[in-house]
């Protein structure tokens, strides 16, 4: 069974332009959920030129890194929509009927969903 583990990072809501301009530390994976929203994996602090920005520690996502084969075998059969072709990129939508996200980067992919759904997703993906 797929094991999804807690992901830690910063959840940031800020003006899109200010988010665009953020210099994240080396190696930070930034999942841009929306133009004004990002989840920066592993980040612990951020300088952002938006005095109203919401920056909070986020621990409510669980995820699992998958190889290209694991993605093809255990995840893709449960997705109705096409994956984006660009890499790296974020895809969001139902995976096996659970709201989930995929970070696609080269040969690997990070599958993540809210911790509240982890039992459903793991069960459905087997």
């Amino acid at each position: 069974m797929l094991v999804l583990e807690t992901l830690h990072g910063l959840r940031v809501i800020a003006a899109p332009a200010s988010l665009d301009g953020v210099r994240w530390s080396e190696g930070t994976i930034v999942l841009r959920f929306a133009p004004d929203e990002a989840f920066a994996l592993g980040a612990t602090e951020v300088q952002i030129p938006d005095e109203y920005a919401i920056v909070v520690h986020e621990s409510a996502f669980v995820g699992s890194w998958l190889t290209r084969e694991e993605l093809a075998d255990s995840v893709l059969p449960h997705i109705e929509w096409p994956l984006p072709e660009r890499r790296p990129s974020l895809a969001q939508g139902f995976v096996a009927g659970v709201p989930a996200k995929l970070w696609l980067d080269g040969d690997r992919a990070l599958l993540l969903c809210a911790a509240a759904y982890v039992h459903e997703l793991a069960d459905r993906l087997g």
Binding site: F33, A34, P35, E80, W81, P82, Q92, G93, F94, P99
Partner: protein, 77 residues
């Protein structure tokens, strides 16, 4: 039915929540109270192209506005 989210791309309708037509009270109703009744309760119920709001709940969790032909359920530009 598939709806294209400007942020996430095309997704089946099951990923969205319908948020209703973009509407206002009928301008031709001059009485304020009647106009409010109209705004609260009445619908255009258009057989044709409507402008409406959908929420991409399974994706970016943001709203989008689309135009849909209710006679065919096709999304028009």
């Amino acid at each position: 039915m598939w709806i294209t989210c400007p942020r996430c791309g095309g997704r089946p309708v099951e990923e969205y929540r319908f948020g209703g037509e973009v509407r206002g009270a009928a301008a031709w109703i001059t009485d304020a109270a009647l106009r409010d009744v109209d705004y609260v309760w009445m619908y255009d119920n258009i057989e044709g192209v409507t402008t409406e709001r959908w929420f991409h709940g399974a994706g970016c969790r943001r709203w989008l506005t689309i135009r849909r032909d209710t006679t065919t359920d096709t999304i028009v530009a």
